[in-house]
Subunit: 223 residues, 2 copies
DNA sequence: ATCGTAGAATCGTTCAACAATCCTACAAGT
DNA sequence: ACTTGTAGGATTGTTGAACGATTCTACGAT
């Protein structure tokens, strides 16, 4: 049954615009297309071999994800988050994740494990001096927290917030070092959760956001 | 300054696709276009005097807002929320609004007033047996709660959730009566907040979501 | 140095066309 | 009666070209 559902999902993923959007999203998040860069319809469309109309549909999709910004009669640009954007992003995450973490005792064990596992793995890698996937591990931890709420819509929106935050990290040029700093924090939160002191964990998460926001915002405003 | 910013916003609001999307959104939320209805590109485009490509851009915008659903090679349809959708929507609202309400003591007085005012007005109208705007008042109350978080992104996403919920109400055919039922609840929450017992208010809000979700979901599944 | 303007480049929108896909209805077989 | 197969029509997906509208660039005037 699940394989059939998967197959159906694959089939539905046709749409040229969707594929173009996926490719562009990857390029942006990988850093090949730098924040602030303008994406010419003619240039990109020609390079990818799709028509202008189709490309514009792809642009719309990425604008929804806040990866691109659209300026009327000027074109689309790779988003370049400001310190105000960072403030807004962390305000959203604070409400969402603290609200979700509060539900810790009401959810299935599988959902709780989705929070613990990324931290456990990150700790294991750190002990072997392997800091390669430290960025994605941190994000997995927070995705797990959002997942506690049990809403696909909320998880999707959070993914968009994370993607936008990745752009901010790129502008601040502090991607890896940044995530690395906050592994101890994640670890402490998981310990508090395992001890059953959920309210304490929420407060700790709140403090994490304070610190992270200040750190990132200062690097951006200095620019 | 604010008038200049307003003027700029008006100028930027050009875009035919945007205007078409706004018109269609209104028609759907007013109930002229019923949930489940298929929107033919040719028919709608002809009636509104816009080309197919422009109309398709408008469709994309409304798909982002979850007002329409797009099925590959089949067209776009007015969304028809299921009981699973309702479950997901309330799960998202629970996390967001409970997370935001938690911040009651940390925000400006203006933000707190945006929560109190809608309830006060609704109470005043109810005493005069005026139940005309009871629906929008309830939504304004919850918009105020989300606003406590201070994130434009979160408020925008919440508006999308509210719009989707309006569609669910329409399917359940219980729009006004539904909102009316929950005015006492809102009132109690505001009282708890004014008493300084924020944690109590959060719990009360949580219960409200439980009751509202059960109520609406049962009406949908019966259909 | 500031301002204004002509020209180039690019976007916004429309139109027409064709391939790909879906829906409908009807015929054939069990 | 129920499923299966198959044509035909209708609708969507995508392309390409075209033209007015807007923005950008560079050059010259004050």
């Amino acid at each position: 049954m699940s394989t059939l559902a998967q197959g159906k999902a694959d089939l539905e993923r046709a749409s040229t615009a969707q594929k173009v959007a996926d490719m562009l999203r990857e390029r942006v998040l990988d850093g090949e297309l730098e924040p602030g860069l303008r994406l010419s319809e003619e240039a990109i469309g020609g390079a990818l071999g799709v028509s202008r109309n189709t490309l514009r549909e792809a642009f719309r999709l990425l604008t929804r994800d806040r990866i691109l910004v659209h300026e009327h009669s000027r074109g689309v640009f790779v988003r370049r988050p400001t310190s105000d954007d960072v403030r807004d992003l962390y305000a959203a995450r604070r409400a969402i994740e603290c609200g979700a973490l509060r539900l810790w005792n009401d959810v299935t064990e599988a959902r709780r494990e989705a929070v613990r596992a990324p931290v456990r793995q990150a700790v294991a890698r750190a002990e072997k001096n392997d800091f390669s996937k430290t960025g994605t591990a941190n994000i997995q931890f927070h995705r797990g927290i959002v997942g506690l709420a049990g809403s696909a819509r909320l998880s999707d929106e959070s993914d968009r917030l994370f993607a936008e935050l990745m752009l901010a990290f790129r502008v601040a040029r502090e991607m890896d070092a940044f995530h690395q700093t906050y592994l101890p924090w994640n670890r402490r939160i998981v310990e508090l959760l395992n001890n059953g002191t959920v309210e304490q964990a929420v407060l700790q998460l709140d403090e994490y956001f304070d610190a992270a926001e200040r750190d990132l915002a200062s690097r951006l405003s200095a620019d």
